[in-house]
């Protein structure tokens, strides 16, 4: 289904060429091709728009290596910044030369890359920690402080069996 794909080292030259001939970067996203039968598991899919010719094209780049790496095109289009951060965050594809390659959607301390195919939906359990509710004992004590949280068990109840917040 993907006819032509570029290697990482060809990508920057090709992108420069595209920019010079008037193509505009419309979209960039990662793709996990685990079940699609490719030599390299990860790829980057970019879409370009030519306003004068009213044409669109899709360019595929293979992200080889561990971690998968492709060169960044932030120097050509500043708009690629967020796209590349997103692909890094959700697929773990590294972009060489990116000015600030950090997580963008997930929290900074998050482990794993959610859009990878081996990261199933619902695989990470979400703890629904009952929030202590309107229980400010002393002045300046936060109801969400660690001490306040420890007094509540998994069902949101205190030792004497009272549900927090009932008094409210």
């Amino acid at each position: 289904m993907i006819d032509v794909e570029l290697r990482g080292d060809e990508w920057l030259a090709r992108a420069t060429e595209l920019k010079e001939s008037g193509w505009w970067l419309s979209d960039l996203c990662g793709l996990d091709r685990r079940d699609l039968g490719f030599a390299d598991r990860f790829g980057v899919v970019t879409q370009f728009l030519h306003r004068e010719r009213r044409e669109r094209q899709i360019v595929h780049i293979a992200a080889a290596g561990e971690p998968p790496t492709v060169p960044s095109i932030c120097s050509l289009w500043s708009g690629a910044n967020f796209f590349e951060r997103e692909a890094f965050d959700l697929f773990g594809i590294h972009f060489e030369g990116h000015p600030n390659l950090t997580r963008i959607m997930m929290p900074d301390e998050w482990e794993g890359h959610p859009l990878r195919k081996d990261y199933g939906v619902g695989k990470v359990e979400v703890d629904f920690v009952p929030q202590p509710f309107l229980q400010i004992q002393g002045l300046g004590q936060s109801p969400n402080s660690k001490e306040a949280m420890e007094k509540v068990d998994d069902f949101g109840q205190t030792e004497d069996g009272q549900r927090r917040g009932d008094s409210w």
Binding site: W24, L31, D32, Q47, S78, E86, V121
Partner: protein, 412 residues
């Protein structure tokens, strides 16, 4: 501690308002604005470096509304993924459905009947109106013109009532599906649309008389948050933001989809690229949308509203009583869904915020292998930095309002 280290620290630890001068000899300080702030239009968080009241650096931090919708689509059937994508940009739900459906139709090589195309175009343009009305209202509110939001939401209510009449819901409709639309227009739809078409031009005049020549509004918007055409293209900005800077590009006119090829309308352009130009472009776009809605209303053809191929569409209810085939198709579609040939496809539409794209990959199964949505707000939010640097904090608020970001679309 260097400035970058401090920004990093605020980014990691800072919650709520956080102020610290990082150098005693320097007046600059780092302030955290958002994610919960009345004028950041949702959960947009900005890290600002200020010199007095002047913004010297602006860093948008997003992800506070990230719910992994692209991942969730991979668990849905092709048909039911519509209910996920419609929740992305919640002010313009029909556009999300439309772009996803267009992408899937390309893979399926599925024809949409004329009536389906017309309904889609009409309802999308009504959606553009209701979305721009929110933008108008909140922009006025952010500038201190509180009455704007009452006027904007008053007419939005009329349009939302029409959605309710057609889809049963006011948002997250799931109305546009691959192959057409889910249901035909209800009885009395034409009077409802005719009323909106008659009502809107006068009301848009009213809005313009409220804000367009208001000296306070002009003071707050003219020459503020300037974005040049070159910057807009470099940052990937599209839609009213790019057009206000003079980029003459509208997908509806230049690469028509659905029934836009048969509609006559003009594409409003701005020159200055400031907040006021963006406001004016949106106002003019609303007038054009009314024209398109009117043309769709007058030219609405009869016939099927969706592709009636039983392989992708549930058979009509009446057929189930008489036809065994219909029962089989119904069972297959309800339990398993249809398969889509292996391949990739992409589609783009002009949403109220700019170029909305959808890229889908199929591995031949009954659910999308990958469904990526290029949301215009996600890209447009990057223009905030060049717009606001060098201006005042109050002007930053004006810039945010003029970008009109929808955080549901930014974070997906």
């Amino acid at each position: 501690m260097t400035r970058d280290q401090l920004i990093r620290q605020v980014e990691n630890e800072g919650q709520g308002a956080f102020v610290e001068a990082y150098d005693e000899t320097d007046n600059r300080m780092v302030i955290n604005m958002g994610p919960v702030h009345p004028s950041t239009h949702g959960v947009l968080r900005l890290l600002l470096e200020l010199d007095g009241e002047t913004v010297t650096k602006c860093l948008p931090v997003i992800g506070y509304l990230h719910t992994g919708m692209e991942k969730e689509c991979e668990d849905q059937t092709w048909r039911s993924a519509v209910t996920i994508v419609t929740r992305m940009d919640y002010l313009a739900p029909f556009f999300n459905e439309q772009v996803y459906s267009l992408a899937v139709e390309k893979l399926l090589e599925l024809e949409v009947p004329e009536r389906g195309k017309y309904i889609r175009t009409m309802i999308a343009e009504l959606n553009r109106l209701s979305s721009h009305l929110v933008c108008f209202g909140t922009q006025g509110l952010d500038m201190g013109a509180m009455s704007a939001i009452f006027y904007g939401f008053r007419e939005r209510e009329v349009i939302l009532d029409f959605y309710e009449m057609v889809t049963g819901l006011r948002m997250n409709h799931g109305y546009i599906i691959p192959g057409g639309v889910w249901q035909d227009l209800p009885k009395g739809w034409d009077t409802a649309v005719r009323n909106i078409v008659k009502l809107m031009p006068g009301r848009i005049d009213e809005y313009e008389s409220l804000l367009s020549n208001n000296p306070i509004f002009l003071e707050r918007t003219k020459g503020i948050g300037v974005l040049t055409a070159a910057e807009a293209l470099d940052l990937g900005a599209s839609g009213p933001i790019a057009r206000a800077s003079g980029v003459d590009w509208d997908l509806r006119r230049d690469m028509p989809y659905d029934a836009y090829g048969e509609a006559k309308f003009s594409v409003p352009l701005g020159k200055e690229g400031d907040v006021y130009a963006r406001y004016k472009v949106r106002m003019a776009e609303m007038r054009e949308s009314v024209k398109i809605v009117e043309q769709m209303l007058d030219g609405m053809p009869g016939g099927d509203f969706k592709n009636m191929d039983p392989k992708v569409t549930h058979p009509p209810r009446a057929e189930l009583n008489t036809s065994m085939e219909a029962v089989i198709h119904h069972f297959k579609l309800s339990t398993q869904g249809y398969t889509v040939p292996t391949g990739e496809s992409s589609a783009t539409v002009e949403s109220p915020r700019g170029e909305l794209g959808c890229y889908v990959v199929s591995d031949g199964g009954t659910s999308p292998y990958r469904c990526h949505v290029r949301d215009p707000s996600f890209v447009n939010i990057q223009t905030l930095s060049p717009m606001s640097v060098g201006g005042l904090v109050a002007d930053l608020i004006a810039s945010i309002a003029s970008i009109d970001p929808v955080m549901g679309g930014v974070d997906r």
